[in-house]
């Protein structure tokens, strides 16, 4: 079977986040990583490959430097990598992004498409379901378990207070939660091989059945009216006290604020 995993390069907002003295985000200091939910999706694909055999292709849309995460994916075990990059694709919202990726996917044979549920920079969770909609395949979001049974995929679909076990006929798109698994590390041999392999690079002309008017900034129905770094509420008091003093301190504040 053929599995395509859609991945995204994102700034690392976990751990490596630094702020400028004025409280704004210091983006320059942040590392670019493979989005965590996408990595879990890749791991799920690699496990299917090991269990029943599959060809795993990773696909990303981004700047040329997104080549890094494609190499990482191949070092983990992906067989092929495709980078979709073109100046006309820049500034895309989720509609234009999903249109672009769907246009690239139409060139490929796929049984299963896996995307991360959401990327840690935008947190929208929209691109996966929208790709499925453009391609006309079933979507199962929020997967915390994926297994293959013949022509079907069985997914444990998470909700707030329950999960559904869902059976869908392939081809199908599944969005992965990072809770799905613990992704493997790259192996030294894998890293070596990954840099010998070729990354296929596609531009606008390689996208199938896509109108120019649906791409990039111009093709994005949503427009940013304003963007700013969040001004956080400043720190309050901080005290170092022993247990008895701490209790007295907290009780004082609770009384002052009429909680008790």
């Amino acid at each position: 079977m053929n599995i395509v995993v859609c991945i995204k390069q994102v700034p690392d907002t976990k751990g490596g986040v630094k702020f400028n003295p004025d409280g704004t985000l210091d983006r320059a200091s942040m590392l670019a990583i493979m989005n965590p939910d996408d990595k879990a999706g890749l791991e799920a694909a690699l496990r299917i490959k090991e269990e029943i055999g599959a060809e795993v292709t990773v696909l990303t849309m981004g700047l040329p430097k997104a080549d890094d995460i494609l190499r990482e994916a191949m070092a983990m075990g992906a067989d092929k990598a495709i980078l979709v990059t073109d100046r006309v694709l820049g500034g895309a919202d989720t509609w234009a992004t999903s249109t672009t990726i769907a246009g690239a996917l139409r060139n490929l044979d796929y049984d299963l498409i896996i995307t991360g549920r959401q990327a840690i920079d935008g947190d929208t969770a929209q691109v996966g379901p929208q790709i499925a909609e453009h391609l006309g395949v079933p979507v199962i979001s929020y997967a915390e378990g994926i297994k293959i049974e013949g022509d079907y995929v069985i997914v444990k679909r998470q909700y707030e207070d329950r999960y559904h076990e869902i059976k869908a006929k392939m081809p199908c798109l599944v969005t992965a939660l990072s809770e799905l698994n613990v992704p493997r590390y790259m192996t030294p041999g894998g890293i070596f091989d990954a840099y010998k392999k070729e990354v296929t690079v596609w531009g606008r002309a390689d996208l199938k059945d896509v109108d120019d008017s649906d791409l990039g900034l111009k093709g994005s129905p949503t427009k940013i009216a304003k963007a700013s770094d969040k001004v956080r509420k400043g720190a309050g008091e901080k005290v170092v006290l022993d247990a008895a003093e701490s209790v007295e301190y907290i009780m004082g504040k609770l009384k002052e604020k009429h909680v008790i």
Binding site: P129, H134, S141, Y163, K167, K223, A227, R232, A243, L254
Partner: protein
């Protein structure tokens, strides 16, 4: 496309097990404000099977009209029949604004429907208002009025963006649960009821649900709590959460937690606060043994008062806490519980 044909503020009235979710009422509350600014009405779209009992509660919370699609195919949420129903309602009734809750259902239904009706969707909004796009008149670009301006956090809560959808309709947004205020219900209020049947023709997208497994013991919702006693990795073990529970009990609050706690299996995900959990804004939030990763902070920083207890004086939680105590939670928490008990016994 004739954008002026699109009228009215619509909300998706999410129900699960034929019970309306809180977000449905929150969306009506917000929609009433937007509709007042636009001089239009609020329509709730109710999808499900045998859901007609849910119409009156929507009316009592402020819906002027309820469009109901009631069909066996909608008995349990599945993306395709629900997306088909909602997209059909949009195409038939042409709302200018369509609001959906940013729930595990809405974040699947919203993007699917927006792609189907070809419009923009802004995710996880925390502020919605009517205004101009662009915000300030600029030469060479027509300034449009009465646009929906949708504000949302991004970048793990580090940036805030205001988004418009000026040239497509409906203007769609998913809205974070727990942020908008529901209105006090007006007993006996009635809405205009419209029954709509878009027709359902099952295909491969009508996936099969093999099994539904509900989490047990999740009666109360941390989003409704006025006081939360929240624990993180620093609490140390599942057993130690009993200590937090006792503090919560004496204050009449609830226990909640950070993501690490869920990952360690100490508490169920229903109790998780943060970017991948719930957004809460209680009157009082205790952050106990929580380091304060931005993903966590994004879900609790709007709390009225935050008290943090952590042994690490450099923990980032102290940057958002109103009152921070550097100390040993194992000693402070039980002593605080005892002191509160004594204090309350006096009254």
């Amino acid at each position: 496309m004739g954008l002026e044909e699109y009228k009215g503020v619509f909300i998706y009235a999410q129900q699960v097990d034929n019970e309306l979710s809180g977000i449905a009422f929150e969306l009506i509350g917000k929609a009433k404000e937007l509709a007042a600014d636009l001089d239009t009405q609020v329509t709730a779209v109710l999808l499900g099977h045998n859901v007609k009992d849910l119409i009156d509660p929507l009316a009592e919370h402020g819906a002027d009209r309820v469009i109901v699609v009631d069909d066996k195919e909608l008995e349990v949420y599945r993306t395709e029949p629900y997306a088909h129903a909602l997209a059909s309602v949009i195409n038939e009734y042409k709302p200018e604004i369509m609001l959906v809750g940013a729930t595990a259902i809405g974040r699947d239904l919203g993007p699917t429907v927006s792609a189907r009706v070809k419009t923009g969707l802004t995710a996880d909004c925390t502020v919605l208002e009517i205004g101009d796009y662009p915000l300030n008149a600029a030469p060479g670009q027509e300034q449009l009025h009465k646009q929906l301006l949708m504000t949302r956090p991004a970048f793990g809560g580090n940036t805030i963006a205001t988004i418009a959808c000026p040239y497509n309709r409906p203007q769609m947004a998913t809205v974070r649960p727990g942020v908008m205020q529901k209105l006090a219900p007006v007993k006996g209020a009635k809405a205009e009821v419209v029954e709509f049947d878009p027709g359902f023709v099952p295909n491969d997208k009508y996936v099969e649900i093999l099994n539904i497994v509900k989490a047990v013991g999740t009666v109360e919702n941390i989003m409704d709590a006025k006081i939360l006693v929240s624990g993180g990795r620093g609490v140390g073990s599942k057993e130690n959460f009993q200590m937090l529970q006792e503090l919560a009990d004496v204050l009449g609050g609830m226990v909640s937690c950070s993501r690490a706690v869920v990952e360690n299996g100490w508490l169920a995900q229903d109790y998780q606060v943060g970017q991948t959990g719930k957004t809460v804004r209680p009157n009082l939030y205790f952050a106990i043994g929580i380091s304060g990763a931005i993903q966590h902070v994004a879900g609790m920083e709007e709390s009225d008062m935050i008290i943090a207890i952590n042994k690490d004086e450099d923990a980032p939680i102290f940057d958002v806490a109103d009152y921070g105590i550097v100390g040993d939670l194992n000693k402070i928490v039980p002593a605080l519980t005892a002191a509160l008990k004594a204090e309350l016994a006096k009254e």
